[in-house]
Symmetry: C2
Subunit: 234 residues, 2 copies
């Protein structure tokens, strides 16, 4: 059974993302330095994000709303208007941020797209992810783009049925053990973990034990060889 389809996560797999969130969070810490230390602020922000995830889902707009809410809470409603305006500006800058692909991405995707169907599978704000894909210049390499509100077993089954030849003949590649690797393995696909330098707290999970369809790579540059190794030549 050959691999026909390669699913790829986007943020922190193809291009930098969490770094930009962290830089914005640093700016947020500095803005509220008179009201709370970094540890307190980060803990409160994580609580707000978790509470709002059900309503806001993933992405920059929800992150911006949660920063404003956290600022209001931490200042007892005394946050100066300048703080709110700065947070709004930081959110807009994230949405307009240049897209920087990670080392090896362009070459790896070009090589893979010759032999496999590539499908982009990502969470986040719809328009923002479309913008980043367009800005990355990688759009033409993908046979399909799926921007989803959650990544679970059913989603991978449905996507690999729709755009490929089923999960058994697909591999999912990404930096999140929780969203990219574990549910794809549950769906019966192969899965490759390529860690990014930093991981959002909500995405942390343990690696699977001894799973024969699981691989871990240090760089996406090694992906074409890994996939070819799973595909016996005629």
């Amino acid at each position: 059974m050959n691999i026909t389809t390669v699913g790829l996560d986007a943020d922190d797999t193809l291009w930098h993302n969490e770094t930009i969130f962290r830089l914005t969070q640093d700016r947020f810490v500095a803005l509220l330095a008179d009201h709370a230390d970094r540890a307190t602020l980060e803990a409160r922000m994580a609580e707000t994000e978790k509470r709002n995830l059900r309503l806001y889902g993933y992405g920059v707009k929800g992150f911006t709303l949660s920063m404003i809410e956290t600022a209001m809470e931490l200042t007892g409603g005394e946050a100066p208007a300048s703080v709110v305006r700065e947070i709004l500006a930081a959110g807009r800058e994230m949405l307009a941020h240049p897209v920087e692909t990670l080392p090896g991405v362009d070459e790896a995707l070009a090589a893979l797209s010759d032999r496999y169907r590539l499908v982009l599978i990502t969470k986040g704000d719809l328009l923002d992810q479309e913008r980043k894909l367009a800005a990355s210049g990688l759009g033409d390499l993908f046979a399909a783009i799926e921007i989803v509100s959650e990544k679970d077993r059913e989603i991978y089954e449905r996507i690999f049925d729709r755009h490929g030849s089923g999960a058994r003949e697909a591999v999912m590649v990404g930096n999140s053990m929780k969203s990219d690797v574990l549910p794809a393995l549950e769906a019966g696909a192969w899965a490759v973990h390529i860690p990014y330098a930093i991981t959002w707290a909500h995405e942390v999970a343990d690696a699977p034990d001894n799973h024969d369809r699981y691989g871990a790579l240090a760089s996406i540059a090694d992906l074409p060889e890994w996939v070819a190794g799973r595909t016996p030549q005629a």
Copy 2:
């Protein structure tokens, strides 16, 4: 050439939406009554939304961010924190609002789904639209769901190719002349306009002149008969 596929808009076509935005906007007017009259506030809010559309796209989260930004501008940054908290709360309430289908929707969709492939085609926040579809109880009637960042000719061509037998054998149904009717006609599909009581300023456009693939209906209850009339029986 028979119609095989019926594309349906969601907000204000299947369920109430603009009404909820207007109620929130009324609350926003009341909150800032000391700073601006209704006309000024609505004009400024429309400007902010238009300016941000390119970055935020459509949906409740962007609307909430634009309300906060407008409040900050109109008060010269002197908006009390209570105003910001109220706006955040209003946004969350919109995202948790019960879904109320419009009269005749359930019966019309049940009748259509027996003979045609139904595809939901909507803009807005991903998670919010998925939630509303689930809450509407209509989810099982659709062969496919497409949540898109923009509705233009290319989008309709792509969706009706992917999920149907091409735009020539599809009809798009919705309350927006600009987003549902005109680009679907451009794509070569049929299009039916079913006006909602109120229309968001950004969605207003003139009806097409004398187009033989265009129809206007007062209620979705009349849709099954209209579609059947375009489909000669064997």
